[in-house]
Amino acid sequence: MKQKMVLYFPSTTTEQPFTYYLIKDYNLMINILKANINPRKEGRAVVEISGDKKDYLAGLEYLQSRGVKIFPLEQEIVWQEDRCTHCGACVVICPAGALVLERPEMEVKFLGEKCIVCEHCIKACPSRAMEARY
């Protein structure tokens, strides 16, 4: 199975080589989509983990047992449709094709499953319609 998620590392956990153990001991593939981890400070990473279901679940359990908090990715970037003016300014900013201008309607759609949570859109959206929620 394959799943994107947000890993939250409390400051006590940031110096541990989690990726190494996930790969070595749990036979998982880790694709780091975004990471912001500083030694001795809390950190955050958006990853895609894939592997056998058994390994996958064991791997997540291992992370949690070491104090890493796991959040589903869906909660991350929220498109507040009522704030969105459908201006379209975001579509050239989004690197993942998650914000698209549908033609000929010229309406903007947010495709959450494509979002890699890079957060570029948050400040680029003039109406502040994109929000990060953890």
Binding site: H86, A89, I93, M106, P126
Partner: protein, 395 residues
């Protein structure tokens, strides 16, 4: 020859018999039925635009306190309004930022709140903190005031935008190798994107390119309420080069507009933040165009393929005022999502909401169909050439 007068069209509107279509709908009508038949059938074509318009703001009368006060500095939610007017009058501009804003000190600044947002908050019915100071006079002794106000508490609030509804605008690209943060949005290096900002075939002044029906007193949709064109806008430059269809090839006409803010809605007045640039206000403007004759109908049938905008480099040409363009593209190309400049295909993004423009044109059409919204004959039309700046002559 089809000829209709304002009076005839208004009589039909009152009787609920006027045929009203949007500037989008009229295009296919003309393609199917031809100019003459469509001109005979259609009485009014509605247009719309919903984009960031920096030259916007509002005059407020803030009401007298007891004792009275001659406010010399006024802040609304921390954003300063110009108070060099009568005792409790002030003008808040859309691009004003709070004095405490870090602006571009940590480049690019975020500009999360400013004049445009205060205007939006007010029309949304929110409470806004009014702070005022004064030096005090015999007639106006009070020196300091702080209170929460709502739009409904204010004696008057008049939106007055010195420049809206730009007829055509630049397509912004970036030829340099660093990201630019502009009022045209974020421009990625080496022409990574091209941003444009008009609603093309729906845009008011593209549908009446020589301003035959638009001028002082034209009744319009403004910010969700009823407003009026009050004057030509600042930077109005009708002498711009035009195509054979009369449509200017560069930024040309502009409008100054006015309306009662208390009728407006935060759906159509939206504070916006442009990273590294500042704040602005997205304004919804819709103008009805009376089909007085075939020529006007033909103008309103203009389509995105026939409207062209200049491509301008915002790393050098625009900031340095060089006036150079590096190409010309049609709105049809811009709206397709990609334009070609030289041998490159560049992804495009609008800043003006086409969907909003269409919704405004449809709303205005409904208002007219309901018989509530009559058309006004302008006192004079805005000048179509700089030689004819003559405000005395009515049309």
């Amino acid at each position: 020859m089809i000829k209709k007068t304002y009076e005839e069209i208004n009589a039909k509107i009152r009787a609920g018999e006027a045929v009203v279509v949007t500037a989008e709908e009229v295009i296919s009508m003309v393609r199917e039925q031809g100019v003459e038949e469509t001109a005979a059938a259609v009485d009014v074509v509605t247009t719309g635009t919903f984009g960031p318009m920096c030259s916007s703001g509002a005059f407020f009368c803030l009401g007298h306190s007891k004792p009275r006060m001659k406010m010399s500095r006024v802040f609304l939610n921390g954003v300063e309004a110009y108070a060099g007017l009568a005792a409790v009058d002030a003008y808040l501009g859309a691009t004003q930022i709070p004095e405490t804003d870090p602006d571009n000190k940590n480049f690019p600044g975020e500009f999360n709140y400013g004049g445009g947002h205060v205007l939006e908050d007010l029309v949304a019915g929110k409470e806004v903190l009014l702070e005022a100071t004064a030096y005090g006079t015999d007639c106006y002794p009070k020196k300091k005031l702080e209170k929460m106000v709502r739009l409904e508490d204010l004696p008057q609030a008049t939106l007055y935008n010195p420049r809206n509804a730009y007829q055509n605008y630049n397509v912004a690209v970036n030829l340099s190798d660093r990201t630019l943060y502009t009022y045209m949005g974020i421009l990625k290096p080496n022409m990574g994107n091209a941003n444009y900002s008009t609603s093309g075939q729906l845009s008011p002044l593209f549908n009446d390119p020589l301003y035959r029906t638009i001028g002082m007193g034209t009744k319009i949709f403004l910010g969700g309420g009823v407003g009026y064109v009050s004057w030509q806008g600042t930077q109005h430059s009708p002498d711009a080069l035009r195509g054979e269809n009369g449509v200017p090839l560069t930024p040309a006409g502009t409008l100054a507009v006015i309306g009662d803010m208390k009728q407006m809605s935060s759906k159509w007045l939206r504070g916006v933040s442009f990273m590294g640039y500042g704040v602005s206000l997205m304004v919804g403007v819709g103008i009805p165009i009376p089909i007085l004759d075939e020529e006007i109908l033909k103008f309103t049938a203009v389509s995105d393929e026939e409207i062209f905008a200049p491509v301008v480099d915002y790393s050098e040409s625009y900031p340095q005022g060089l006036g150079e363009t590096i190409g010309q593209v049609s709105y049809a190309q811009l709206k397709s999502g990609e334009i070609s400049v030289g041998d490159r295909l560049i992804p495009t993004a609008p800043l003006s909401s086409y969907r909003g423009a269409r919704d405004i044109a449809i709303l205005l059409k409904e208002w007219i169909q309901e018989g509530e919204f009559l058309l006004t004959r302008p006192v004079f039309t805005i000048p179509a050439s700089s030689e004819k700046f003559n405000y005395k002559g009515a049309i």
